[in-house]
C-alpha cells in the first residue's frame, strides 16, 4: 500500500506533518486530546466525539487491533459503544500496522478505511497536546496528499446532539413488572444502556428532543452527548417539567450539564476539557475519592447552582464541577462516566444508587 503524507493544520496556522493510515478523506473539526492509554475502539465509537479530531497522547495505537463490529439481539453493539465511528479523525504518534489479540478481527487502519474516517500517524502528539493545553482546544483540519482540501472547520454552534441522537423511541428489556427508565439519548454510549439493563430495569431510549413527559416512567436518565449543551434548550424544558413529578433523575456527562441547566445553573467551556481515564474526583464533604473516565469540554459552573442544589463531586486537579445533586429531591448527576468503556469502573455503583431511588 502506498503511504500518503498527511498534514494536520490548526486554526492558528501551526501544522503537523504525518502519514495517513485511515481513509484518505480530508476533514475538519475541533482538535482535542485524550490521555487514555488504551480503549481506542470504545473512544472512536463514543458519540461524544462527534465533530472532533481525537488526538491520542499515548503514542502506540492499534496494538490489539479491532474486534468484530457485531451486535447483540437487542441491537446493542457487542464490543463497541455505538453503531459506528463518531470521532471525525484519529491522530497518533506511532500506529502499529500489525496487531495481536485473540479477539481482534481487523487492523485499526482497515476499520477506519471501511468507515471513511481518516487517521494520521507520525505526529508529535505531545507537542500538539501542549499547544492545546496552552492555547485551549482549536479547530483544525487534516489534509491528505493528493486529496481535495478540507472543508472549513466548525464546532461550537452546531447541534451535534441532534445529529447523533436516535430518531425514534427504542425499548430494551421490556417486561410488565419492571421499573421503567426513560433514557434521553443525546448520543448515548451503549454501556450506559447495558449498565441499566443489567440492573433489571426496562429502558425506554428516546430522541433528545422527544417529550418524554408523555410516557409512563419510574425514573429519568440523561445520557452523555457531544457538543455544546446550550444547543439543547428543548431538553432542559422537558427535564423541568419532569421534575414536577418528583421522580428520580440521574445524568452522565452532558446529562450532568443538562440537569444543571434545567436547575438553572450556567454552563461554560473548559479551556481544553477533560478526556482521560485518570481524572480524580472527590465526593463533596467526604473523604471518598474516585478515579474516573471522562470526556467533556463543557462544565457546570457550580457557583451558579440555585438554592436546593449542591455539588456532588469536584475535580481534584482543577476544582471544576464533577456532579450535582438536589438536597431533598432524588436527583443527581455525574460529569464523569460511571459506565466507563473505556476507562476505570470504580464508580459504577452510581447506577445502583439510581436503581435504589426507583424503589
Amino acid at each position: 500500500m502506498e503511504i500518503k503524507k498527511a498534514i494536520l493544520r490548526l486554526s492558528n496556522g501551526v501544522t503537523f506533518e504525518g502519514y495517513s493510515f485511515g481513509a484518505d478523506v480530508p476533514v475538519s473539526g475541533e482538535v482535542v486530546f485524550n490521555t487514555a492509554m488504551m480503549g481506542y475502539p470504545e473512544s472512536l465509537t463514543d458519540p461524544s466525539y462527534a465533530g472532533q479530531l481525537m488526538t491520542l497522547t499515548y503514542p502506540l495505537v492499534g496494538n490489539y487491533g479491532v474486534p468484530e463490529f457485531s451486535f447483540e439481539p437487542n441491537g446493542l453493539a457487542t464490543y463497541m459503544e455505538s453503531d459506528r465511528i463518531y470521532a471525525r479523525a484519529i491522530i497518533c504518534s506511532e500506529y502499529s500496522g500489525e496487531f495481536s489479540h485473540w479477539n481482534g478481527k481487523e487492523t485499526l487502519s482497515e476499520w477506519l478505511i471501511r468507515e471513511g474516517v481518516p487517521g494520521i500517524t507520525g505526529i508529535d502528539t505531545r507537542a500538539l497536546t501542549m499547544l492545546l493545553r496552552e492555547n485551549g482546544v482549536m479547530l483544525g483540519s487534516i489534509e491528505i496528499e493528493g486529496c481535495a482540501p478540507a472543508p472549513e472547520a466548525q464546532y461550537e454552534d452546531i447541534n451535534f446532539v441532534d445529529q447523533v441522537s436516535c430518531k425514534e423511541v427504542i425499548r430494551y428489556n421490556e417486561g410488565p413488572d419492571k421499573k421503567k427508565v426513560i433514557l434521553v439519548d443525546c448520543g448515548v454510549k451503549h454501556n450506559i444502556i447495558r449498565c441499566l439493563i443489567r440492573r433489571g430495569v426496562e429502558v425506554i431510549r428516546v430522541p433528545w428532543n422527544y417529550d418524554f413527559n408523555t410516557l409512563e416512567s419510574d425514573g429519568l436518565f440523561l445520557s452523555n452527548g457531544p457538543g455544546n449543551p446550550d444547543t439543547c434548550q428543548a431538553l432542559a424544558e422537558h427535564i423541568r417539567t419532569y421534575m414536577k413529578t418528583h421522580k428520580p433523575i440521574a445524568g452522565i456527562c452532558m446529562g450532568n450539564q443538562m440537569l444543571g441547566k434545567a436547575a438553572g445553573a450556567t454552563i461554560y467551556k473548559l479551556p481544553y476539557g477533560h478526556r482521560s481515564h485518570n481524572q480524580p474526583v472527590r465526593m463533596v464533604g467526604t473523604d471518598r475519592c474516585f478515579i474516573t473516565s471522562q470526556n467533556h469540554g463543557y462544565a457546570v459552573d457550580a457557583k451558579t447552582l440555585p438554592e436546593g442544589w449542591e455539588p456532588l463531586f469536584v475535580n481534584m486537579n482543577d476544582g471544576s464541577n464533577e456532579g450535582i445533586k438536589h438536597v431533598s429531591e432524588p436527583w443527581f448527576s455525574a460529569q464523569f462516566h460511571p459506565e466507563a468503556c473505556s476507562g476505570p469502573v470504580d464508580t459504577e455503583f452510581l447506577f445502583d444508587d439510581f436503581i435504589q431511588l426507583l424503589k
Partner: protein, 1081 residues
C-alpha cells in the same frame, strides 16, 4: 490527617545488595525517610549497607550500621524507643524481620506501632494458604497450590495437580528455592532445596505460556485506591518477573482486559487491608480473559521502584505518608506540584526494563532462566516507539550489544532449543532466528512471546535490511534515516549497516555518521515525563530523548551553568550502589554551589535517577552518541566522568576528542592510567615498583616472560572493571586458552601480563588530589591475601596491621603517582605489601567502590571534596590522622551463590560478590563480627566442619581450631584435615564422602552430605588448595555447593575464617555495642 502520636520512627533497611534485593530498596528507603523528615518526624535507620544513599548524613537522624535481624532490631528498639516502625521499605529482609518481631511480642512490649499495612495483612499475603483463603473469600482466582510440610506431601500434591508443576518456598526472597518440575525426579531435587530455606513448600500447577501482568496499587486508610501503573512481561509466565523484560504500560491488553485486572487489584487490596503500596501479579490467558492471581507483595518492591521511575509517581514517598495517616487526597502530585496525588499516571511514552545478568562470572552456573532470580541489575529505557525502547535497553545493559541488530555475531547452533529454553541470550537468539527466516508464528510457538512484541522486533530487522540495501551513507535519504532513528537505531548500528565500518575504524565511522545525520537536520528532541501526558505542566525535569518528535520540552538557556554528571548504569558485579552514592554526592555539591546539576543515568534502582535529586535528569543512555546529544543541548560548564565507575571513565577519551570540557583529571591522564602498557611504563619511569610485567606483542615474548617469572601470572587486557576479561593462569594450557579469548576482548589496547603474587597483603589507597597534590586520603587493608578480588575482600579501615613504614611508603608513592598524572579529583590505587616491600597493582583515576565506606568511616565526604576541586572551589586539607580513630570500620562482602544454581562459591580474581556492608566497632573484632553477621553469617552453636587444603593453610588455622575445641565446639574434618589434627592430638570427627566404603562394602560414616542435610553443621570452613584451578571438578566443589544450597554458612578463605572465628570467640554477642554512626567519635 497525620497520626498524632508518632514522633519517632524506625525504618528497617534491606542490608547488603543481593540478587533479588538490590538498589531499589535504597531508593524506597530514601524516599520514606524524606517523607518522614518532611513531617518533622525523628528518624532512625538500621541498615549495614554503608554504600547506600539512605545511610548518608542528613537522610536519617540516627543511622545504625547493624544487621537487620530480630536480635539487633530488638536491642535497637530497647535503646531508641521509637513510636512507630516501617517494615515495607527494606524488602523481604525488613518484612521478615518485622514479622518475627511482631510474633515474638517485641513490638507490643515496647509499644511500637507498625505504620502502614498491618502485620496481619503481611502474614496473609506471605503465607500462601492464608493468602488463597483470603482471595477465595472475595471470589478471586488464585493459582491452585498446595502447601506441603514435607517431601511426601509435595510428591502427592504434584501427582494430583499433574506435571508440570512449580515449587516455591514460602517466605522466600524473589523466588529463592523455587522452580519448575516436569517429573518426580526433578521435584525431589528441588523440594529438598526449598525445604532448606523454608518449613513450607508450595506445589502449584504450572501455567507456562500465559501472559504475566502486574499492577502497582496504592490504598490509604480512608479506603481510597489507585493503580499507579501496570506492566506487561515480554517473557511469558514461567520466568521470574525479575528475569523478564518488562514493558510499561501493558501493550497487548484491551480496555476490557486492563480494567478487569485493575478492578480485581483494587478489590484485593481493599479486602486485604493494605495501607500504602503493594503489587498484584497476574497470570493472564492469552486466548480469553481468564486470569489467576500469582501473588501480592505487601511492600515496596523491585517492581514498585520500576513503576515509580516509569511513571514519575513516587510510590515509596507516598506510601510513607499514607503510613503516617494521610489520605491520598491530602497529598500533591510531586511532578506538577499543583494537582492531586490521588490520580493514575497517564504515560505518553513506553518503558522497557531489561535485566542485567553476570552469569559469565560464575564457574559452573546454570544459564537457563526460570522462576528463580539470577540477574544482578536492570536498566530502564524510555521511548515513543517500542522498537526505540528495546534497542536503547539492549545497549544499556552494557554487554557490548549495539541494540537488537548489528551486533557481533552470536551464533547459536541449536536455535530451536535456544528459543525454547530461555537464557540471558534469548533475545539475541530471536534476532538470529529472524535473520534465518523464522516466521513470527514459529518463534511464538517456541517462545510463547506475544506476537505483537515479535512483530515489533521483526520491524527492526526489516529496517536493518533496508539500511543494508542502501550500501552507502550518501544514499541514505532523510526519511529512511529518520525512521531508523525513530526505531532506535544508533549511529553505530546504521554506520555498520551501510558499510561505513568497512571503510574506517568504527570509532571514526560513528563520528562520520553523526556528522552526516546532523547535516540532514535529524536530531533527537527532549521530552518530559510529567505523569499526566501533557495535561498539566510539570515542575520537574525528568527527561528522555526521542526522534519521534519535533520540539523540546526544555528551553535551553545556554548559560553555561550546567554540570553534567555521568551515572554508573546498570548494577552489575563490580559496580553498584557505591557509584550511585558517589553520583548523588557530586550532584549535591554541584547544586549547593549554584550550578545546575544534571544527571544522565538509566538504572531504575538508583537514587541518582530520582528526579528531585538534581535539576535535570536525563533518563537515557550513557553511550558516546547520547551523551554527546545531551552535551550539545546543555552546552555545559563541564562534565564529570569520575564518579560513575567505569562506564563514564571509558568515555573520557572519546568525549575529549570532541572537545567536551571534562572536569578534573584530564582524559589524557585517565588514559595513561587505564592503558596498562602506558601505566606500567610510567611506573618504571618514576621508579615505582610493580609486579613484573610485560606487554603482549607475540607468543614468543609471552613464553620468554613466563619462563623468567614463573606461574602463576595475571593476564589483563586494558580497560576492565571487576576482573572481567582478566584471569590468572597457572599453567601453559590455561594461558593459551585465555589469550585466545582475551585477544577478542579489546583490539585497541595491548594485553599485559604480570607476575601474580600470593601470600601478600593488599592495601588500598582512596584519595582526592588537586593539581597533583593529595588533599585527603584513606588507607585500608584487606583481611584476605592477594588473590581474592578487591571487591570480594573483607576490608579494614583504618588499616590495623600495617607497619608504619608501609603506610609511609604508600603515601609517598601515591603522592608521586598523583603528581605524575596531575590528578584533580578522586582516585584509587591498589598495592601489594609484603614486609615493607610495596608494589602497585593498579590505579583508577575515578572514585572507587570503597569511597562511600571510607568517607563514612572517616566522616569526611571525599566526593564532596573531589567535586569542589573539579568545580575549582577552595578546599581545605582535613586534619584527621589515621591515629585519631577510636573505632574501626569493616567492609564485608555479600554473595548470592544460593541464587546461582551450580555456581562454585569460591573466590578468585574475578569478582563474585553482589553487595557489601560496612560496620563500625570499638575494635577490629567487634566491627568484623557485626559485618559478618550482616552478610548472613551465623555464630555456630556447636558443630563446625573443616576441609582445609594444603599444609600451609592448615598450619595457619591450627591455633583457631584449638581455641574452638577449648570452647567446647565439635570439630568435623575431611580426610587430610582430620589426619593433620589427629597428628597434633586435636579431637575431631572424621567425615566421609559418599564414595568411601569400608572393607565390608558399607559406606563409611558419618557422610558429610548427610550431616549437612540433617542440619548438623553450623559452619563449613572449606579452604581449597588452589583457588585458581578449574574448580567445578574439584571433589570439594560438591561440598561447598551443598552448603550453599542448604543455607549453611560457608567460608572459603583461611584468613577470613580465622578472623571471624576469633571475633566470635573473643566478643560475646550481647557485648556488641548498639551505637549509631554519630556516636562513634
Amino acid at each position: 490527617m497525620k497520626l498524632e502520636n508518632i514522633h519517632k520512627v524506625l525504618v528497617l533497611g534491606s542490608g547488603a545488595l543481593k540478587i533479588g534485593e538490590a538498589g531499589e530498596f535504597d531508593y524506597s528507603g530514601s524516599q520514606a525517610l524524606k517523607a518522614l523528615h518532611e513531617e518533622g518526624v525523628e528518624t532512625i535507620l538500621i541498615n549495614p549497607n554503608i554504600a547506600t544513599v539512605q545511610t548518608s548524613e542528613g537522610v536519617a537522624d540516627h543511622i545504625y550500621f547493624l544487621p537487620v535481624t530480630p536480635y539487633f532490631v530488638e536491642r535497637l528498639i530497647e535503646k531508641e524507643r521509637p513510636d512507630g516502625i516501617l517494615l515495607s521499605f527494606g524488602g523481604q529482609t525488613a518484612l521478615n524481620c518485622g514479622v518475627a518481631l511482631y510474633r515474638s511480642g517485641v513490638l507490643e512490649k515496647y509499644n511500637v506501632q507498625v505504620l502502614g499495612t498491618p502485620v496481619e495483612t503481611i502474614i496473609n499475603t506471605e503465607d500462601r494458604e492464608l493468602f488463597v483463603r483470603q482471595l477465595d473469600q472475595i471470589d478471586v482466582k488464585t493459582i491452585k497450590s498446595e502447601a506441603c510440610e514435607n517431601i511426601e506431601e509435595a510428591r502427592r500434591a504434584a501427582a494430583e495437580l499433574g506435571y508440570p508443576v512449580i515449587i516455591r518456598a514460602a517466605y522466600a526472597l524473589g523466588g529463592l528455592g523455587s522452580g519448575f518440575c516436569d517429573d518426580e525426579e526433578q521435584l525431589n531435587a528441588l523440594a529438598e532445596k526449598a525445604f532448606s530455606f523454608s518449613p513450607q513448600v508450595l506445589v502449584e500447577k504450572s501455567l507456562k505460556g500465559w501472559k504475566e501482568i502486574e499492577y502497582e496499587v496504592v490504598r490509604d486508610r480512608y479506603d481510597n485506591c489507585i493503580t499507579v501503573c501496570n506492566m506487561e512481561n515480554f517473557d511469558p509466565l514461567g520466568i521470574h518477573t525479575g528475569e523478564s523484560i518488562v514493558i510499561a504500560p501493558s501493550q497487548t491488553l484491551t480496555n476490557s482486559e486492563y480494567h478487569k485486572l485493575r478492578a480485581l487489584a483494587i478489590r484485593i487490596i481493599r479486602h486485604l487491608g493494605i495501607v500504602g503500596e503493594c503489587n498484584v501479579q497476574y497470570a493472564f490467558d492469552p486466548e480469553s480473559e481468564d486470569y489467576r492471581v500469582i501473588e501480592v507483595n505487601a511492600r515496596l518492591s523491585r517492581s514498585s521502584a520500576l513503576a515509580s521511575k516509569a511513571t514519575g509517581y513516587p510510590l515509596a514517598f507516598v506510601a510513607a505518608k499514607l503510613g503516617l495517616g494521610y489520605g491520598l487526597f491530602e497529598l500533591t502530585n510531586s511532578v506538577t506540584k499543583s494537582t492531586s496525588a490521588f490520580f493514575e499516571p497517564a504515560l505518553d511514552y513506553v518503558v522497557c526494563k531489561i535485566p542485567r545478568w553476570d552469569l559469565a562470572k560464575f564457574r559452573g552456573v546454570n544459564r537457563e532462566l526460570g522462576s528463580s532470580m539470577k540477574s544482578v541489575g536492570e536498566v530502564m529505557a524510555i521511548g515513543r516507539t517500542f522498537e526505540d525502547a528495546i534497542q536503547k535497553g539492549l545497549r544499556m545493559i552494557g554487554q557490548g550489544m549495539h541494540g537488537f541488530t548489528e551486533n557481533k555475531e552470536l551464533h547459536v547452533e541449536d536455535l530451536d532449543a535456544a528459543l525454547k529454553a530461555p537464557t540471558d541470550k534469548r533475545i539475541f537468539a530471536i534476532a538470529q532466528a529472524m535473520y534465518e527466516g523464522y516466521s513470527v508464528e514459529r518463534i511464538h510457538e517456541l517462545t510463547k512471546i506475544d506476537n505483537w512484541f515479535l512483530q515489533r522486533l521483526e520491524h527492526i530487522i526489516r529496517m536493518d535490511e533496508e539500511l543494508k540495501k542502501t550500501g552507502d551513507l550518501k544514499k541514505l535519504g532523510h526519511d529512511l534515516l529518520l525512521r531508523a532513528k525513530q526505531l532506535g537505531f544508533s549511529d553505530f548500528q546504521i554506520a555498520r549497516a551501510v558499510g561505513l565500518g568497512k571503510k574506517m575504524p568504527m570509532d571514526e565511522a560513528v563520528v562520520e555518521m553523526r556528522k552526516y545525520r546532523k547535516s540532514l537536520g535529524i536530531l533527537p528532541v527532549v521530552k518530559q515525563i510529567d505523569t499526566l501526558a501533557g495535561e498539566f505542566p510539570a515542575q520537574t525535569n525528568y527527561l528522555y530523548l526521542t526522534y519521534s518528535g519535533i520540539s523540546n520540552d526544555v528551553h535551553y538557556q545556554g548559560d553555561k551553568k550546567s554540570i553534567i554528571v555521568l551515572g554508573s548504569g546498570a548494577y552489575r558485579i563490580g559496580s553498584s550502589v557505591e557509584f550511585d552514592w558517589c553520583g548523588v554526592q557530586a550532584l549535591h555539591t554541584i547544586r549547593n554551589n549554584g550550578y545546575r546539576s544534571v544527571m544522565i543515568n538509566y538504572n531504575p534502582e538508583t537514587v541518582s535517577t530520582d528526579y528531585d535529586i538534581c535539576d535535570r535528569l536525563y533518563f537515557d543512555e550513557l553511550t558516546f552518541e547520547r551523551v554527546m546529544d545531551i552535551i550539545e543541548l546543555e552546552n555545559p560548564h563541564g562534565v564529570i566522568v569520575s564518579t560513575g565507575g567505569q562506564i563514564p571513565n571509558n568515555l573520557a577519551v572519546k568525549l575529549d576528542k570532541q572537545r567536551v570540557p571534562i572536569l578534573g583529571t584530564t582524559a589524557k591522564s585517565i588514559d595513561n592510567a587505564e592503558d596498562r602498557d602506558k601505566f606500567s611504563a610510567m611506573l618504571d619511569r618514576i621508579g615505582v615498583d610493580q609486579p613484573e610485567w610485560s606487554a603482549l606483542t607475540s607468543m614468543d615474548d609471552v613464553e620468554k616472560f613466563v619462563n623468567r617469572v614463573g606461574y602463576p601470572v595475571l593476564v589483563r587486557p586494558s580497560y576492565v572493571l571487576s576482573g572481567a576479561a582478566m584471569n590468572v593462569c597457572s599453567n601453559d594450557e590455561q594461558l593459551h586458552k585465555f589469550l585466545a579469548l582475551a585477544a577478542n576482548v579489546s583490539k585497541e589496547h595491548p594485553v599485559v601480563i604480570s607476575k601474580f603474587m600470593t601470600n601478600t597483603k593488599e592495601v588500598e589507597m582512596d584519595a582526592v588530589a588537586r593539581d597533583g597534590e593529595i588533599i585527603a586520603y584513606a588507607i585500608s587493608e584487606h583481611v584476605e591475601y592477594a588473590g581474592v578480588h578487591s571487591g570480594d575482600a573483607t576490608i579494614m579501615f583504618p588499616a590495623q596491621k600495617l607497619y608504619i613504614e608501609t603506610v609511609r611508603r604508600i603515601k609517598r608513592i601515591s603522592g608521586q603517582i598523583a603528581r605524575e598524572l596531575n590528578i584533580s579529583g578522586p582516585f584509587n590505587i591498589q598495592y601489594l605489601a609484603r614486609e615493607n616491600e610495596i608494589k602497585v597493582i593498579e590505579c583508577n583515576l575515578r572514585a572507587s567502590r570503597s569511597f562511600p565506606f571510607v568517607s563514612k568511616v572517616l566522616k569526611i565526604n571525599l566526593i564532596d571534596i573531589a567535586t569542589r576541586i573539579m568545580l575549582g572551589l577552595p578546599v581545605e586539607k582535613p586534619h584527621k590522622s589515621l591515629f585519631d580513630f577510636d573505632y574501626v570500620g569493616v567492609k564485608a562482602s555479600q554473595f548470592s551463590f544460593n541464587r546461582l544454581q551450580n555456581a562454585d562459591p569460591i573466590l578468585g580474581v574475578d569478582m563474585a560478590s553482589t553487595g557489601e556492608v560496612g560496620c563500625l566497632g570499638e575494635d577490629a573484632n567487634c566491627a568484623l563480627l557485626k559485618a559478618m553477621l550482616s552478610v548472613g553469617m551465623r555464630i555456630p552453636e556447636k558443630n563446625i566442619l573443616f576441609a582445609i587444603g594444603g599444609p600451609k593453610q592448615r598450619a595457619h588455622m591450627l591455633d583457631t581450631i584449638k581455641r574452638l575445641v577449648a570452647r567446647g565446639y565439635t570439630i568435623y574434618a575431611t580426610g587430610g584435615t582430620s589426619e593433620f589434627l589427629n597428628g597434633l592430638g586435636i579431637p575431631n570427627v572424621r567425615v566421609y564422602k559418599k564414595e568411601h566404603v569400608d572393607e565390608f562394602g558399607q559406606l563409611k560414616q558419618p557422610i558429610v552430605s548427610d550431616l549437612m542435610h540433617q542440619k548438623k553443621i553450623d559452619l563449613f570452613v572449606g579452604i581449597p588448595v588452589d583457588t585458581l584451578a578449574d574448580s567445578v571438578h574439584d571433589s570439594y566443589y560438591k561440598m561447598r555447593r551443598t552448603a550453599v544450597d542448604l543455607n549453611i554458612p560457608l567460608i572459603t578463605n583461611a584468613r577470613l575464617a580465622v578472623a571471624f572465628i576469633n571475633a566470635f570467640l573473643d566478643v560475646p554477642l550481647d557485648t556488641l555495642a548498639i551505637k549509631s554512626w554519630d556516636e562513634y567519635k
